[in-house]
Symmetry: D2
Subunit: 264 residues, 4 copies
């Protein structure tokens, strides 16, 4: 079959209590409800299960267009009030995002700077992206990811979240550069696809505005990209299938990178 | 690229409050926490978000091997007590399931009986599977799905859940037939991959025992297969990437079927 | 001390998964997270704990004035939009309800009709209340409860919820009668302090409008009153101290009736 | 009536997202589900509601005897395994705690040391309690509270929780002193009714062992006592009616102190 020999990379961070996540969202919690032996069926069978509390922007996830508004308007000039119900957004929610199976380009900005991990608060520039993209074509409709190496810091929650130290990411200029490529979605490894200066917290989110509100481009956050960065992979087939949670402003996803056998 | 012309089918049911789910598991609920305008940043930006409560066996999902024990033992003879923590299972949880990208065979048993929807409580037999499989090869390591047409009943929760009417599915004999093929996973459209007789409820789960406990074969439930059944697709590339919830006995997934362009 | 010899009645229904509750609210669920032995401290100690998911109108509870609006306005003509935040209501929430320690009158309408349990869908009338009140004085600022006997039906969830069969309770006329007494709060045993006709569901809530929106009188629902009814108690000291959940439209409470020793 | 002129003190801290709570327990979160206008009934009525996620040991709460075990045993030598179900504890849960309406003594140890707030990590001694109790009688079956002044620090979450700085409270010696009085329950203002040395975290809980496991005495934590301390009240009627959550190891409560008119 045509996928023979393909290599698959798991691009999601594992979800567990205490993992790094934005303080703006409900904390993830999974706990067992029934354990084996609690209820034993007549034939000797027993089933364990769990309850999960989470947010839509927790762990590796995709932002829906409904996530952000600017000056009171969503993408396309939609009035959020008319789309908002007690069951979430009737339009522009994550269920409006078609599962993506297609080309993806990874721009390794950390490598441009000869470092495995960009400094906290570093602003990724258009020149950085240009350098990282010099050997790969970006086509309209691709998903474009920006490598910072920050998925390596997953096990250091405070540093990863960057409330005091900041987080590296694209500034407004880089967002414009990305936007000109007319991508299907953009994303990266950090808690927010933004440059966050030290001490600034998540005060403003200009790249979210440019992508979600002005351009209708979804954002993928908290991806696990370091294996692809280590393998110097810049182009692959991306599977991006967030949970179809109707009306939500975002949803967890376990993205996969597939490298066809012939290319490896 | 090698996926050009591929067609993608979304095999997950949409997740929303009130959707059909097993009464044994925490009910799904998604609600908005912040709405646009609740908190407006200094630059005019505003972000909406949500809280989600769910179970691991809610909506389209994959059962981990830790889900079921029999006579006090899990797959491989493991003692559940030694693997159980307040953070879930240290082994055999859904995080032990490698994302699957591979061949999948769909056996349309409803079509064998010339019906779009098998009757409630119908036991799928080995002969049914044999008939449905007569034009397709099943290879070791494939995922094998059984079509009952029941994803067409998603919008009738009481009927779909089948507490009084029952649910069609494989009996012990059919499970044995499936098991001989040495599949990577098995699954279907119903609330439980079992034949549930009318009025019997979810009293015993013999196919879960055979698959999860005796054979180490994961089960996929509540899949949305009717588009594939309508298209008479019996073989495709399956993407099966459940959320990596560490220690959970199951996790939601949005499976995709990919049909390569040359084959369509 | 002055409470010597007092008898205490517990007026709350026990809270557990599966208890009757309005389908309009998040279902109650309590589950253990840590069990003993999961985490053992160095000294041999171990602590078990739980997670609780619930709504503010689940189990015995008090409705805050913010719970209901009519024609777009809350009590006092307040605009709900200006009081609503992602943390709930900045005014008129349950935290604005001062804990009540004071006189309470119980009007046993079931006894007026010589029955332990009023029929489903029965409308309590002003004449019923007048009869029930003939031997007890109602003073301004009292809490006034209406006995229907329905706390006896707690263990029959479908009947108690009354989605098809209906629920007995005060109609508009009786609400007017109650209101003239200028009570501090009113309440009863049923899922909603309303007369709900068979088959009508919770379509409209006129008594909620009269009490919460027009009069600023809180409502107590799902109380456990049958012990007081059996003891023919019509006057007692009520403790009504709902959880101080800031901004919520209601909160669970465990009300107590205290009968002073001299009276018993 | 006999409560005429009584003064009521609210002894519960308000519950809101971000309030101080032990990191060992699920974080409190209350959010609106329906807002006014989301669903408007035919008569112009609209109801807002909420979802609440919490733990049993969050906010002002009572510890059930089932909360703590020592060397594998609960109070009375009970084996926790035999009492544990997927619905909580079948015995010794918070539902086994009868609502308490009775005498309460408050021992103001902060005043003994002429300070409004005891230092972090301070060990309350038997001599402290003896001094604080010199003008008040403690009777068998009373609830005995220890004042540290720490409810004044509620709005400083990090300091209140004391993970690094520690928390003042009774040591083993003081617990023995309390225990000799044979109280119905004991409690205080802090996150845990223990002396927690700076930097030590919640590593061991000897007072919990002495009270819950060895003596069958419930513990009340995170109480709001500073108004009583300011008023120099040492004896009052306590209402202690935790939510009747069946099988839970603890439950939130809104305790009230009632001072009879004649005494004030």
């Amino acid at each position: 079959m045509w996928h023979d020999g393909a290599r698959v990379y798991d691009l999601a961070q594992p979800m567990r209590r205490g993992m790094p996540q934005s303080p703006n969202h409900p904390p993830f919690r999974m706990l067992l409800e029934r354990r084996h032996g609690d209820v034993v069926r007549t034939d000797g069978g027993s089933a364990a299960n769990e309850l999960i509390v989470t947010g839509g922007h927790v762990g590796t996830h995709v932002d829906a267009l409904a996530h952000v508004s600017h000056d009171g308007l969503l993408y396309g000039g939609a009035d959020p009030a008319t789309l908002t119900t007690n069951d979430g957004f009737s339009e522009l929610g994550i269920d409006a995002f078609e599962p993506y199976v297609g080309r993806c380009v990874l721009l390794d900005v950390a490598r441009v700077h000869n470092t495995p991990v960009l400094p906290a608060g570093y602003e990724v520039t258009a020149a950085d992206l240009e350098s990282a993209a010099k050997n790969v074509e970006i086509r309209e409709g691709d998903v474009v990811l920006v490598g910072t190496g920050w998925s390596r810091l997953w096990h250091e929650p405070d540093r990863f979240i960057g409330l005091t130290g900041g987080v590296p990411g694209p500034g407004v200029e880089a967002a414009g550069w990305l936007n000109e490529k007319r991508p299907r979605a953009v994303g990266g490894e950090t808690i927010a696809f933004e440059q966050i200066a030290p001490g600034r917290g998540h005060a403003t989110l200009p790249v979210h505005r440019i992508m979600l509100v002005e351009s209708g481009v979804n954002i993928i956050e908290t991806m696990r990209l370091h294996e692809l960065l280590d393998a110097q992979v810049s182009e692959f087939l991306l599977i991006l299938n967030p949970l179809p949670i109707v009306g939500a402003t975002g949803a967890p996803v376990r993205p996969l990178a597939i490298l066809s056998g012939e290319r490896s």
